[in-house]
């Protein structure tokens, strides 16, 4: 069965979608990704969709779901490299994906994830300090 590979890079999981997404593939990705996040205790997920040229409402919703599920499992999701046509389609479909973080390319996406994680850690430290006071 066709699968989208999930790469692990330290605390992060990397997904590059390089084939046309169909419904079953999206659902499989959702399954695999949630399992992997729980398995490795990932703190960040980066999904590269720069090769994705066609998107429908189901794929859009699955992306939103993946991000929500990852957040429940304590991982931030960044979607990177969305094509203009895909962005326009999603907006026209009325799916602005409000909960999803986005970045222009993989590089800035990784920076973004690191920033989020460090700010989280700072928050934890701050919480710790405040309880000590």
């Amino acid at each position: 069965m066709e699968r989208i590979p999930i790469l692990r890079m330290g605390n992060f999981l990397l997904v590059t979608i390089q084939v046309d997404m169909h419904d079953q593939l999206a659902l499989t990705l959702q399954d695999d990704l949630t399992n992997r996040i729980a398995e490795v205790g990932a703190k960040g997920v980066l999904i590269d969709i720069s090769s994705l040229e066609i998107v429908d409402s189901f794929i859009g919703r699955t992306l939103a779901n993946i991000a929500s599920m990852a957040r429940v499992l304590d991982a931030e999701t960044v979607v990177v490299g969305m094509q203009p046509a895909v962005a326009i389609t999603l907006v026209e479909l009325g799916m602005p994906l409000p909960g999803i973080r986005t970045a222009l390319n993989v590089e800035s996406g990784m920076d973004h994830l690191r920033e989020i994680l460090t700010s989280h850690e700072e928050n934890y430290d701050y919480d710790g300090d405040s309880t000590e006071d």
């Binding site: 979607v79 969305m82 203009p84 895909v86 962005a87 907006v91 222009l104 390319n105 996406g109």
Partner: protein, 295 residues
Amino acid sequence: MKDLLSLIQKNHESILQDWLRDLKARITRSDLINDRELTAQASEVLSAIRGAGGNSSLENFDAAEWQPLKDVLGNLSASWATQGFTPSDTARFVLSLKIALFDVARKQWGNNSEELFAEVFRANEFVDKLALFTTDSYIYGRDQIINRQQEEMLELSTPVVTLWDGIIALPLIGTLDSARTQVVMESLLQAIVQTNSRFAIIDITGVPTVDTLVAQHLLKTITAARLMGAECILSGIRPQIAQTIVHLGINLEDVITKAKLSDALWLALERSGRKVVRVNTAKSNGTSAAEQRGE
């Protein structure tokens, strides 16, 4: 039995003379055209009518035989329009042919009122068609120009400029409609990809009015840019437009808005970890003054 067309063929000289006499009397803008040109154009139209051939009929103006006449009239309409005549001037030029034709018909069928009426009616119909054709081709020419200008305006109206490395701006000028927003949206998103910009500033100083539709278009563009990983800043909102936006109940809460383009640029620089500082001019002036003293 003679019909009107063969009559025209036979008496074309006198018809032309009658027509020209009438034209010169009726023409309102004699300053725009001289007699020689007028004579040349009138005889061109008349010879095109004669050239239509024996088997053509005055009733069937759509027939292929009348194509040369249509070409002549089309050119005439275009050249008169560029000379500054109104379409009614051009129509009057053609319509004044009637009187000459009626005159010929009266001479031929003057003693038979039945026949005369039928032929006059036919001539009337025919000349009316010619006049309508010139008006149509005038409007057609106008429409072509308008369409071309519209396309050119659409292309010109969406320049995406790079303000800084990673910061682009889109100064919008003119009213936003659906077709234009589509072009604006596409060119902005394309520019974001090409220049790899994290910040896009949409400046609406030149947009005269913002209604719910325009706001919706703007919000769509901003959302699409966000989906691609770029942040949009809306700038150049004039006080009246700010009032309209609030009165219309448009929600711009999720959008970063700034009054001026410079504020937006400042914010974008700040967010990308840059800062604009004033160089210490007092110090450099001091050294130059010292140098001057040293000399």
